[in-house]
Amino acid sequence: MILFDQVSKRYPGGNEALSNVNFHLRQGEMAFLTGHSGAGKSTLLKLIALIERATTGNVIIGGKNLHKVSRHTLPYLRRNMGIIFQDYQLLYDRTVFDNVALPLIISGFSSREVKKRVHAALDKVGLLRYEKKYPVTLSGGEQQRVSIARAVVNKPALLLADEPTGNLDPDLSLEIMDLFMAFNQVGVTVLIATHDIPLINQLDKRIVHLEHGQLLTAEEN
Protein backbone atom coordinates (compact mmCIF):
# COMPACT_ATOMS: atom_id res chain seq x y z
CA MET A 1 0.00 0.00 0.00
CA ILE A 2 2.76 2.39 0.99
CA LEU A 3 6.26 1.87 -0.34
CA PHE A 4 9.20 4.19 0.38
CA ASP A 5 12.20 3.39 -1.81
CA GLN A 6 15.40 5.21 -0.74
CA VAL A 7 13.48 8.38 -0.06
CA SER A 8 15.21 11.57 1.04
CA LYS A 9 13.65 14.92 1.67
CA ARG A 10 15.73 18.03 1.90
CA TYR A 11 14.02 21.34 2.63
CA PRO A 12 15.30 24.56 1.11
CA GLY A 13 18.08 25.72 3.40
CA GLY A 14 19.76 22.32 3.58
CA ASN A 15 17.78 20.78 6.43
CA GLU A 16 17.47 17.08 5.61
CA ALA A 17 14.22 15.86 7.16
CA LEU A 18 14.40 12.31 5.82
CA SER A 19 17.46 10.51 4.56
CA ASN A 20 17.38 7.31 2.60
CA VAL A 21 14.20 5.90 4.09
CA ASN A 22 13.04 2.42 2.98
CA PHE A 23 9.70 1.41 4.32
CA HIS A 24 6.83 -0.81 3.29
CA LEU A 25 3.33 -0.88 4.73
CA ARG A 26 1.16 -3.60 3.28
CA GLN A 27 -2.50 -3.32 2.46
CA GLY A 28 -4.62 -3.82 5.56
CA GLU A 29 -1.66 -3.25 7.87
CA MET A 30 -1.59 -0.79 10.76
CA ALA A 31 1.57 0.88 12.00
CA PHE A 32 2.65 3.61 14.41
CA LEU A 33 5.31 6.09 13.43
CA THR A 34 7.27 7.34 16.42
CA GLY A 35 10.24 9.52 17.14
CA HIS A 36 11.14 12.82 18.74
CA SER A 37 9.80 16.10 17.45
CA GLY A 38 11.69 16.92 14.29
CA ALA A 39 12.59 13.28 13.65
CA GLY A 40 10.71 13.45 10.34
CA LYS A 41 7.35 11.88 11.25
CA SER A 42 5.30 14.72 9.82
CA THR A 43 7.50 14.94 6.74
CA LEU A 44 6.95 11.25 6.05
CA LEU A 45 3.18 11.68 6.27
CA LYS A 46 3.34 14.82 4.11
CA LEU A 47 5.15 12.88 1.41
CA ILE A 48 2.36 10.29 1.39
CA ALA A 49 -0.36 12.94 1.30
CA LEU A 50 1.54 14.82 -1.43
CA ILE A 51 1.77 17.95 0.67
CA GLU A 52 5.50 17.72 0.05
CA ARG A 53 7.42 15.88 -2.64
CA ALA A 54 10.49 13.69 -2.16
CA THR A 55 13.85 15.18 -3.13
CA THR A 56 15.20 11.79 -4.18
CA GLY A 57 13.79 8.27 -4.22
CA ASN A 58 10.31 6.99 -4.95
CA VAL A 59 7.13 7.03 -2.89
CA ILE A 60 4.60 4.55 -4.22
CA ILE A 61 1.03 4.58 -2.90
CA GLY A 62 -1.36 1.86 -4.01
CA GLY A 63 0.93 1.08 -6.95
CA LYS A 64 1.15 4.71 -8.07
CA ASN A 65 4.50 6.49 -8.11
CA LEU A 66 3.85 9.91 -6.62
CA HIS A 67 6.48 11.46 -8.89
CA LYS A 68 4.04 10.91 -11.72
CA VAL A 69 1.10 12.60 -10.02
CA SER A 70 0.46 16.02 -11.54
CA ARG A 71 -1.11 19.00 -9.87
CA HIS A 72 -4.25 18.20 -11.79
CA THR A 73 -4.61 14.55 -10.70
CA LEU A 74 -3.48 15.14 -7.12
CA PRO A 75 -6.98 15.82 -5.73
CA TYR A 76 -8.24 12.49 -7.05
CA LEU A 77 -5.37 10.67 -5.33
CA ARG A 78 -6.07 12.43 -2.03
CA ARG A 79 -9.66 11.18 -2.14
CA ASN A 80 -8.25 7.70 -1.60
CA MET A 81 -6.81 8.67 1.77
CA GLY A 82 -8.37 9.97 4.93
CA ILE A 83 -6.08 12.42 6.73
CA ILE A 84 -6.41 13.31 10.40
CA PHE A 85 -4.57 16.16 12.09
CA GLN A 86 -3.58 17.04 15.63
CA ASP A 87 -5.57 20.29 15.31
CA TYR A 88 -8.60 18.58 13.65
CA GLN A 89 -8.73 21.07 10.71
CA LEU A 90 -12.51 21.37 10.85
CA LEU A 91 -14.46 24.20 9.23
CA TYR A 92 -15.87 26.17 12.12
CA ASP A 93 -18.58 28.01 10.20
CA ARG A 94 -20.26 24.74 9.25
CA THR A 95 -22.16 22.16 11.23
CA VAL A 96 -20.75 18.75 12.14
CA PHE A 97 -22.91 17.24 9.40
CA ASP A 98 -21.60 19.65 6.76
CA ASN A 99 -18.00 19.05 7.83
CA VAL A 100 -18.32 15.32 7.48
CA ALA A 101 -20.28 15.64 4.23
CA LEU A 102 -17.56 17.68 2.52
CA PRO A 103 -15.54 14.79 0.98
CA LEU A 104 -18.74 13.28 -0.43
CA ILE A 105 -19.90 16.59 -1.89
CA ILE A 106 -16.50 17.08 -3.50
CA SER A 107 -16.78 13.65 -5.12
CA GLY A 108 -20.29 14.39 -6.36
CA PHE A 109 -22.55 12.08 -4.37
CA SER A 110 -26.28 12.75 -4.39
CA SER A 111 -27.82 14.44 -1.37
CA ARG A 112 -29.56 11.23 -0.35
CA GLU A 113 -26.32 9.26 -0.46
CA VAL A 114 -24.51 12.03 1.40
CA LYS A 115 -27.05 11.97 4.19
CA LYS A 116 -26.96 8.21 4.51
CA ARG A 117 -23.17 7.97 4.57
CA VAL A 118 -22.62 10.93 6.88
CA HIS A 119 -25.04 9.41 9.34
CA ALA A 120 -23.24 6.07 9.10
CA ALA A 121 -19.85 7.72 9.68
CA LEU A 122 -21.08 9.84 12.60
CA ASP A 123 -22.72 6.76 14.08
CA LYS A 124 -19.42 4.90 13.89
CA VAL A 125 -17.63 7.57 15.91
CA GLY A 126 -20.60 7.85 18.27
CA LEU A 127 -21.53 11.46 17.45
CA LEU A 128 -24.77 11.10 15.53
CA ARG A 129 -26.61 13.22 18.07
CA TYR A 130 -24.27 16.18 17.40
CA GLU A 131 -24.83 16.41 13.64
CA LYS A 132 -26.49 19.82 13.79
CA LYS A 133 -23.99 21.33 16.24
CA TYR A 134 -21.06 23.54 15.34
CA PRO A 135 -17.58 22.14 16.04
CA VAL A 136 -16.68 24.89 18.55
CA THR A 137 -19.38 23.67 20.91
CA LEU A 138 -17.72 20.23 21.10
CA SER A 139 -14.83 19.05 23.29
CA GLY A 140 -11.40 18.29 21.82
CA GLY A 141 -12.03 14.55 21.78
CA GLU A 142 -15.37 15.04 20.08
CA GLN A 143 -13.88 17.36 17.48
CA GLN A 144 -11.21 14.77 16.74
CA ARG A 145 -13.91 12.17 16.28
CA VAL A 146 -15.69 14.49 13.84
CA SER A 147 -12.47 14.79 11.86
CA ILE A 148 -12.15 10.98 11.88
CA ALA A 149 -15.71 10.66 10.62
CA ARG A 150 -14.83 13.08 7.83
CA ALA A 151 -11.70 11.06 7.00
CA VAL A 152 -13.56 7.74 6.73
CA VAL A 153 -16.86 8.90 5.27
CA ASN A 154 -15.91 8.02 1.70
CA LYS A 155 -14.32 4.76 2.90
CA PRO A 156 -10.74 5.42 1.80
CA ALA A 157 -8.29 2.54 1.56
CA LEU A 158 -5.72 4.42 3.62
CA LEU A 159 -5.96 6.41 6.85
CA LEU A 160 -3.15 8.79 7.83
CA ALA A 161 -3.07 10.50 11.20
CA ASP A 162 -0.57 13.07 12.46
CA GLU A 163 -0.51 13.15 16.28
CA PRO A 164 -4.27 12.49 16.47
CA THR A 165 -4.18 12.27 20.26
CA GLY A 166 -1.70 15.10 20.83
CA ASN A 167 -4.28 17.35 22.46
CA LEU A 168 -6.24 14.70 24.31
CA ASP A 169 -6.01 13.11 27.76
CA PRO A 170 -5.10 9.39 28.08
CA ASP A 171 -8.66 8.06 28.32
CA LEU A 172 -9.84 9.96 25.26
CA SER A 173 -6.61 8.99 23.46
CA LEU A 174 -7.33 5.34 24.00
CA GLU A 175 -10.86 5.78 22.67
CA ILE A 176 -9.51 7.39 19.51
CA MET A 177 -6.94 4.60 19.08
CA ASP A 178 -9.69 2.00 19.52
CA LEU A 179 -11.51 3.69 16.70
CA PHE A 180 -8.48 3.40 14.42
CA MET A 181 -8.06 -0.26 15.43
CA ALA A 182 -11.69 -0.87 14.48
CA PHE A 183 -11.22 0.64 11.02
CA ASN A 184 -8.06 -1.42 10.59
CA GLN A 185 -10.00 -4.57 11.53
CA VAL A 186 -12.27 -4.07 8.55
CA GLY A 187 -9.33 -3.79 6.18
CA VAL A 188 -8.31 -0.14 6.14
CA THR A 189 -4.55 0.48 6.02
CA VAL A 190 -3.66 2.81 8.91
CA LEU A 191 -0.50 4.84 9.56
CA ILE A 192 -0.39 6.98 12.71
CA ALA A 193 2.38 9.35 13.72
CA THR A 194 2.52 9.74 17.49
CA HIS A 195 4.99 10.18 20.33
CA ASP A 196 2.66 8.67 22.90
CA ILE A 197 4.84 5.57 23.50
CA PRO A 198 2.97 4.31 26.60
CA LEU A 199 -0.30 4.36 24.67
CA ILE A 200 0.93 2.42 21.65
CA ASN A 201 2.79 -0.08 23.79
CA GLN A 202 -0.62 -1.21 25.03
CA LEU A 203 -1.62 -1.97 21.45
CA ASP A 204 -0.12 -4.90 19.66
CA LYS A 205 0.80 -3.17 16.38
CA ARG A 206 3.88 -2.55 14.29
CA ILE A 207 6.02 0.38 15.44
CA VAL A 208 8.24 2.31 13.07
CA HIS A 209 10.84 4.48 14.77
CA LEU A 210 12.36 7.52 13.12
CA GLU A 211 15.41 9.37 14.45
CA HIS A 212 17.06 12.35 12.75
CA GLY A 213 15.35 11.48 9.52
CA GLN A 214 16.49 7.87 9.54
CA LEU A 215 14.44 4.76 10.02
CA LEU A 216 15.68 2.76 13.01
CA THR A 217 13.10 0.01 13.35
CA ALA A 218 11.09 -1.28 10.50
CA GLU A 219 10.46 -4.78 11.75
CA GLU A 220 7.20 -6.28 10.65
CA ASN A 221 5.15 -8.21 13.17
Binding site: I106, G108, Q185
Partner: protein, 330 residues
Amino acid sequence: MAGQSSGTENQVQLRQLRPSFSSRFKEFFIRHLQVFFYSLGLLSRTPFSTLLTAAALGIALALPAGLYVILDHAKQLSGDFDSINQISLFMKQDVSTQAIERLQKKLNAYPEIAQVKHIDRAEALKEFQENSGFGDALKALKDNPLPHLLIVYPSLTHNEPEPINRLLADLKKLPEVDLVQLDIQWLQRLYAIIHIAQRGIFIIGALLALAVLLIIGNTIRLAIENRRSEIVVMKLIGATDSFIRRPFLYTGFWYGLFGSLIAILLVNLSLLMISNPLTHLSSLYNNSELFSLGLMGINTSLALLLSGCILGWLGARMAVSRHLKEIEPK
Protein backbone atom coordinates in the same frame (compact mmCIF):
# COMPACT_ATOMS: atom_id res chain seq x y z
CA MET B 1 -16.46 1.55 20.33
CA ALA B 2 -14.98 -1.57 18.79
CA GLY B 3 -18.26 -3.39 19.31
CA GLN B 4 -20.12 -0.61 17.50
CA SER B 5 -17.95 -0.81 14.45
CA SER B 6 -17.98 -4.58 14.20
CA GLY B 7 -21.71 -4.29 13.61
CA THR B 8 -21.04 -2.25 10.47
CA GLU B 9 -18.12 -4.38 9.37
CA ASN B 10 -19.75 -5.76 6.27
CA GLN B 11 -20.38 -2.24 4.95
CA VAL B 12 -16.71 -1.31 4.84
CA GLN B 13 -14.89 -1.98 1.61
CA LEU B 14 -11.29 -1.60 0.66
CA ARG B 15 -11.92 0.46 -2.40
CA GLN B 16 -12.76 4.09 -2.02
CA LEU B 17 -16.38 4.71 -2.91
CA ARG B 18 -17.14 6.46 -6.15
CA PRO B 19 -20.47 7.86 -7.21
CA SER B 20 -21.80 6.60 -10.53
CA PHE B 21 -21.18 8.66 -13.64
CA SER B 22 -24.82 9.62 -14.03
CA SER B 23 -24.92 10.66 -10.39
CA ARG B 24 -21.82 12.80 -10.82
CA PHE B 25 -23.27 14.31 -13.99
CA LYS B 26 -26.54 15.17 -12.30
CA GLU B 27 -24.86 16.34 -9.10
CA PHE B 28 -22.64 18.64 -11.13
CA PHE B 29 -25.66 20.77 -12.03
CA ILE B 30 -27.25 20.48 -8.62
CA ARG B 31 -23.99 21.63 -7.00
CA HIS B 32 -23.77 24.54 -9.40
CA LEU B 33 -27.23 25.57 -8.38
CA GLN B 34 -26.36 25.12 -4.70
CA VAL B 35 -23.16 27.15 -5.01
CA PHE B 36 -25.14 29.76 -6.93
CA PHE B 37 -27.34 30.31 -3.88
CA TYR B 38 -24.63 29.50 -1.32
CA SER B 39 -22.46 32.34 -2.65
CA LEU B 40 -25.48 34.64 -2.52
CA GLY B 41 -26.03 33.55 1.09
CA LEU B 42 -22.40 34.34 1.95
CA LEU B 43 -22.81 37.85 0.53
CA SER B 44 -26.04 38.41 2.45
CA ARG B 45 -24.20 37.60 5.68
CA THR B 46 -22.26 40.83 5.26
CA PRO B 47 -24.90 43.07 3.69
CA PHE B 48 -23.15 46.36 4.37
CA SER B 49 -19.80 45.56 2.80
CA THR B 50 -21.55 43.79 -0.08
CA LEU B 51 -23.64 46.91 -0.69
CA LEU B 52 -20.56 49.14 -0.55
CA THR B 53 -18.73 47.07 -3.13
CA ALA B 54 -21.81 46.81 -5.34
CA ALA B 55 -22.33 50.59 -5.09
CA ALA B 56 -18.74 51.27 -6.16
CA LEU B 57 -19.28 48.94 -9.11
CA GLY B 58 -22.64 50.57 -9.83
CA ILE B 59 -21.12 54.04 -10.05
CA ALA B 60 -18.29 52.80 -12.23
CA LEU B 61 -20.80 51.15 -14.59
CA ALA B 62 -23.35 53.99 -14.46
CA LEU B 63 -21.02 56.62 -15.86
CA PRO B 64 -20.36 55.08 -19.30
CA ALA B 65 -23.91 53.67 -19.43
CA GLY B 66 -25.44 57.09 -18.72
CA LEU B 67 -23.24 58.82 -21.28
CA TYR B 68 -24.16 56.16 -23.78
CA VAL B 69 -27.88 56.71 -23.22
CA ILE B 70 -27.48 60.48 -23.68
CA LEU B 71 -25.42 60.05 -26.82
CA ASP B 72 -27.94 57.59 -28.18
CA HIS B 73 -30.66 60.18 -27.72
CA ALA B 74 -28.48 62.88 -29.25
CA LYS B 75 -28.20 60.70 -32.32
CA GLN B 76 -31.98 60.35 -32.43
CA LEU B 77 -32.24 64.09 -31.99
CA SER B 78 -30.08 64.65 -35.05
CA GLY B 79 -32.33 62.13 -36.76
CA ASP B 80 -35.31 64.36 -35.97
CA PHE B 81 -33.49 67.21 -37.65
CA ASP B 82 -33.42 65.19 -40.84
CA SER B 83 -36.81 66.69 -41.62
CA ILE B 84 -35.04 70.02 -41.70
CA ASN B 85 -32.52 68.37 -43.94
CA GLN B 86 -34.09 69.80 -47.05
CA ILE B 87 -32.61 71.33 -50.14
CA SER B 88 -34.13 74.44 -51.63
CA LEU B 89 -33.85 74.79 -55.41
CA PHE B 90 -34.48 78.33 -56.60
CA MET B 91 -35.44 78.27 -60.27
CA LYS B 92 -34.32 80.71 -62.89
CA GLN B 93 -36.95 83.41 -63.58
CA ASP B 94 -37.57 82.36 -67.18
CA VAL B 95 -38.40 78.72 -66.46
CA SER B 96 -42.02 77.91 -67.23
CA THR B 97 -44.40 76.17 -64.84
CA GLN B 98 -44.61 73.18 -67.20
CA ALA B 99 -40.84 72.82 -67.23
CA ILE B 100 -40.82 72.89 -63.46
CA GLU B 101 -43.47 70.19 -63.25
CA ARG B 102 -41.40 68.05 -65.60
CA LEU B 103 -38.35 68.62 -63.45
CA GLN B 104 -40.34 67.77 -60.33
CA LYS B 105 -41.32 64.41 -61.87
CA LYS B 106 -37.75 63.76 -62.95
CA LEU B 107 -36.37 64.47 -59.49
CA ASN B 108 -39.01 62.32 -57.84
CA ALA B 109 -37.58 59.35 -59.71
CA TYR B 110 -34.12 59.83 -58.10
CA PRO B 111 -33.42 57.13 -55.50
CA GLU B 112 -31.69 59.72 -53.32
CA ILE B 113 -34.83 61.82 -53.11
CA ALA B 114 -37.87 61.02 -51.03
CA GLN B 115 -40.12 63.83 -52.09
CA VAL B 116 -40.10 67.04 -54.08
CA LYS B 117 -42.46 69.86 -53.21
CA HIS B 118 -43.23 72.67 -55.61
CA ILE B 119 -43.92 76.12 -54.22
CA ASP B 120 -45.47 78.18 -56.97
CA ARG B 121 -44.08 81.72 -57.23
CA ALA B 122 -47.59 83.22 -57.33
CA GLU B 123 -48.68 81.33 -54.21
CA ALA B 124 -45.45 82.22 -52.49
CA LEU B 125 -46.04 85.87 -53.17
CA LYS B 126 -49.59 85.66 -51.89
CA GLU B 127 -48.47 84.00 -48.69
CA PHE B 128 -45.70 86.50 -48.27
CA GLN B 129 -48.15 89.36 -48.71
CA GLU B 130 -50.44 87.93 -46.05
CA ASN B 131 -47.85 87.05 -43.47
CA SER B 132 -45.00 89.48 -43.80
CA GLY B 133 -46.80 92.71 -43.08
CA PHE B 134 -45.42 94.23 -46.28
CA GLY B 135 -48.62 93.36 -48.12
CA ASP B 136 -49.39 96.85 -49.48
CA ALA B 137 -45.82 97.56 -50.41
CA LEU B 138 -45.60 94.31 -52.34
CA LYS B 139 -48.81 95.05 -54.22
CA ALA B 140 -47.03 98.05 -55.68
CA LEU B 141 -44.64 95.74 -57.50
CA LYS B 142 -45.39 95.14 -61.17
CA ASP B 143 -43.70 91.76 -61.41
CA ASN B 144 -43.49 88.95 -58.96
CA PRO B 145 -39.87 89.02 -57.79
CA LEU B 146 -40.03 85.57 -56.28
CA PRO B 147 -38.74 82.56 -58.27
CA HIS B 148 -40.35 79.16 -58.40
CA LEU B 149 -39.09 77.01 -55.61
CA LEU B 150 -38.62 73.25 -55.43
CA ILE B 151 -38.01 71.78 -52.00
CA VAL B 152 -36.18 68.47 -52.15
CA TYR B 153 -36.34 66.03 -49.23
CA PRO B 154 -33.53 63.49 -49.40
CA SER B 155 -34.58 59.91 -48.72
CA LEU B 156 -33.71 58.44 -45.30
CA THR B 157 -31.03 56.21 -46.80
CA HIS B 158 -29.22 59.23 -48.20
CA ASN B 159 -29.25 61.80 -45.43
CA GLU B 160 -25.67 61.31 -44.25
CA PRO B 161 -23.44 64.30 -45.05
CA GLU B 162 -21.57 62.61 -47.89
CA PRO B 163 -24.46 61.43 -50.10
CA ILE B 164 -26.17 64.76 -49.56
CA ASN B 165 -23.09 66.56 -50.82
CA ARG B 166 -23.12 64.38 -53.93
CA LEU B 167 -26.82 65.04 -54.50
CA LEU B 168 -26.18 68.73 -54.04
CA ALA B 169 -23.53 68.71 -56.74
CA ASP B 170 -25.91 66.91 -59.10
CA LEU B 171 -28.70 69.39 -58.46
CA LYS B 172 -26.41 72.35 -59.13
CA LYS B 173 -25.78 71.01 -62.62
CA LEU B 174 -29.47 71.20 -63.59
CA PRO B 175 -29.96 73.93 -66.23
CA GLU B 176 -33.25 75.17 -64.75
CA VAL B 177 -31.75 75.77 -61.34
CA ASP B 178 -30.47 79.15 -60.34
CA LEU B 179 -29.42 78.52 -56.75
CA VAL B 180 -29.14 75.46 -54.50
CA GLN B 181 -29.22 76.08 -50.82
CA LEU B 182 -28.54 73.75 -47.90
CA ASP B 183 -27.01 74.63 -44.60
CA ILE B 184 -25.14 71.41 -44.21
CA GLN B 185 -22.21 72.57 -42.14
CA TRP B 186 -24.00 72.41 -38.83
CA LEU B 187 -25.01 68.84 -39.64
CA GLN B 188 -21.43 67.86 -40.42
CA ARG B 189 -20.27 69.50 -37.22
CA LEU B 190 -22.91 67.69 -35.20
CA TYR B 191 -21.85 64.36 -36.69
CA ALA B 192 -18.22 65.17 -35.96
CA ILE B 193 -19.06 66.00 -32.36
CA ILE B 194 -21.04 62.77 -31.99
CA HIS B 195 -18.09 60.82 -33.35
CA ILE B 196 -15.76 62.43 -30.80
CA ALA B 197 -18.26 61.76 -28.03
CA GLN B 198 -18.56 58.13 -29.11
CA ARG B 199 -14.81 57.72 -28.98
CA GLY B 200 -14.72 59.45 -25.60
CA ILE B 201 -17.40 57.19 -24.17
CA PHE B 202 -15.57 54.18 -25.51
CA ILE B 203 -12.39 55.27 -23.71
CA ILE B 204 -14.22 56.08 -20.48
CA GLY B 205 -16.11 52.80 -20.74
CA ALA B 206 -12.93 50.79 -21.23
CA LEU B 207 -11.21 52.48 -18.29
CA LEU B 208 -14.18 51.98 -16.00
CA ALA B 209 -14.56 48.36 -17.10
CA LEU B 210 -10.96 47.95 -16.02
CA ALA B 211 -11.85 49.60 -12.72
CA VAL B 212 -14.72 47.12 -12.28
CA LEU B 213 -12.33 44.23 -12.92
CA LEU B 214 -9.90 45.60 -10.35
CA ILE B 215 -12.57 46.26 -7.71
CA ILE B 216 -13.99 42.75 -8.06
CA GLY B 217 -10.55 41.20 -8.29
CA ASN B 218 -9.51 42.87 -5.08
CA THR B 219 -12.75 41.95 -3.30
CA ILE B 220 -12.36 38.33 -4.33
CA ARG B 221 -8.70 38.37 -3.29
CA LEU B 222 -9.78 39.44 0.20
CA ALA B 223 -12.50 36.77 0.24
CA ILE B 224 -9.89 34.14 -0.69
CA GLU B 225 -7.60 35.43 2.05
CA ASN B 226 -10.45 35.18 4.58
CA ARG B 227 -11.13 31.59 3.61
CA ARG B 228 -7.50 30.52 3.45
CA SER B 229 -7.82 27.81 6.11
CA GLU B 230 -11.00 26.51 4.51
CA ILE B 231 -9.25 26.27 1.14
CA VAL B 232 -6.38 24.34 2.74
CA VAL B 233 -8.84 21.85 4.26
CA MET B 234 -10.68 21.50 0.96
CA LYS B 235 -7.44 20.76 -0.85
CA LEU B 236 -6.47 18.20 1.79
CA ILE B 237 -9.64 16.24 1.36
CA GLY B 238 -9.26 16.12 -2.40
CA ALA B 239 -11.17 19.08 -3.77
CA THR B 240 -10.19 20.01 -7.31
CA ASP B 241 -9.26 23.58 -8.17
CA SER B 242 -12.48 24.06 -10.08
CA PHE B 243 -14.51 22.95 -7.05
CA ILE B 244 -12.72 25.48 -4.82
CA ARG B 245 -12.90 28.17 -7.49
CA ARG B 246 -16.63 27.84 -8.08
CA PRO B 247 -18.05 29.80 -5.12
CA PHE B 248 -15.65 32.68 -5.77
CA LEU B 249 -16.64 32.86 -9.43
CA TYR B 250 -20.30 32.98 -8.46
CA THR B 251 -19.50 35.67 -5.89
CA GLY B 252 -17.93 37.73 -8.68
CA PHE B 253 -21.02 37.12 -10.80
CA TRP B 254 -23.30 38.35 -8.01
CA TYR B 255 -21.21 41.47 -7.47
CA GLY B 256 -21.40 42.20 -11.20
CA LEU B 257 -25.17 41.65 -11.21
CA PHE B 258 -25.78 43.86 -8.17
CA GLY B 259 -23.39 46.50 -9.51
CA SER B 260 -25.18 46.68 -12.85
CA LEU B 261 -28.61 46.78 -11.16
CA ILE B 262 -27.42 49.74 -9.11
CA ALA B 263 -26.03 51.32 -12.28
CA ILE B 264 -29.41 50.97 -14.03
CA LEU B 265 -31.05 52.55 -11.02
CA LEU B 266 -28.57 55.45 -10.97
CA VAL B 267 -28.86 56.12 -14.70
CA ASN B 268 -32.66 56.11 -14.63
CA LEU B 269 -32.72 58.36 -11.57
CA SER B 270 -30.42 60.81 -13.34
CA LEU B 271 -32.57 60.71 -16.48
CA LEU B 272 -35.67 61.43 -14.41
CA MET B 273 -33.90 64.36 -12.77
CA ILE B 274 -32.95 65.81 -16.16
CA SER B 275 -36.32 65.21 -17.77
CA ASN B 276 -38.15 68.24 -16.29
CA PRO B 277 -35.68 70.95 -17.27
CA LEU B 278 -35.38 69.24 -20.63
CA THR B 279 -39.11 69.42 -21.25
CA HIS B 280 -38.91 73.10 -20.39
CA LEU B 281 -36.13 73.57 -22.95
CA SER B 282 -38.19 71.74 -25.55
CA SER B 283 -41.19 73.94 -24.89
CA LEU B 284 -39.00 76.94 -25.69
CA TYR B 285 -38.50 75.36 -29.12
CA ASN B 286 -42.30 75.00 -29.47
CA ASN B 287 -41.77 71.26 -29.67
CA SER B 288 -42.34 69.35 -26.46
CA GLU B 289 -41.03 66.15 -28.04
CA LEU B 290 -37.82 67.65 -29.36
CA PHE B 291 -35.57 66.88 -26.40
CA SER B 292 -36.88 63.96 -24.39
CA LEU B 293 -34.67 61.30 -22.86
CA GLY B 294 -37.23 58.95 -21.36
CA LEU B 295 -35.80 55.98 -19.41
CA MET B 296 -33.08 53.52 -20.28
CA GLY B 297 -34.25 51.14 -23.00
CA ILE B 298 -34.71 47.44 -22.30
CA ASN B 299 -31.91 46.47 -24.69
CA THR B 300 -29.45 48.87 -23.12
CA SER B 301 -30.43 47.64 -19.65
CA LEU B 302 -29.96 44.01 -20.63
CA ALA B 303 -26.62 44.79 -22.26
CA LEU B 304 -25.51 46.56 -19.08
CA LEU B 305 -26.62 43.62 -16.90
CA LEU B 306 -24.84 41.17 -19.14
CA SER B 307 -21.59 43.11 -19.26
CA GLY B 308 -21.75 43.62 -15.47
CA CYS B 309 -22.09 39.88 -14.88
CA ILE B 310 -19.34 39.04 -17.35
CA LEU B 311 -16.99 41.62 -15.84
CA GLY B 312 -17.75 40.27 -12.35
CA TRP B 313 -17.06 36.70 -13.37
CA LEU B 314 -13.91 37.72 -15.23
CA GLY B 315 -12.55 39.77 -12.33
CA ALA B 316 -13.14 36.88 -9.94
CA ARG B 317 -11.58 34.45 -12.37
CA MET B 318 -8.44 36.58 -12.63
CA ALA B 319 -8.12 36.93 -8.86
CA VAL B 320 -8.78 33.25 -8.22
CA SER B 321 -6.34 31.93 -10.78
CA ARG B 322 -3.67 34.21 -9.34
CA HIS B 323 -4.19 33.52 -5.65
CA LEU B 324 -5.54 29.98 -5.38
CA LYS B 325 -2.27 28.36 -6.41
CA GLU B 326 -0.44 30.14 -3.59
CA ILE B 327 -2.60 28.47 -0.96
CA GLU B 328 -1.35 24.95 -0.39
CA PRO B 329 -1.39 22.75 2.72
CA LYS B 330 1.80 23.10 4.74
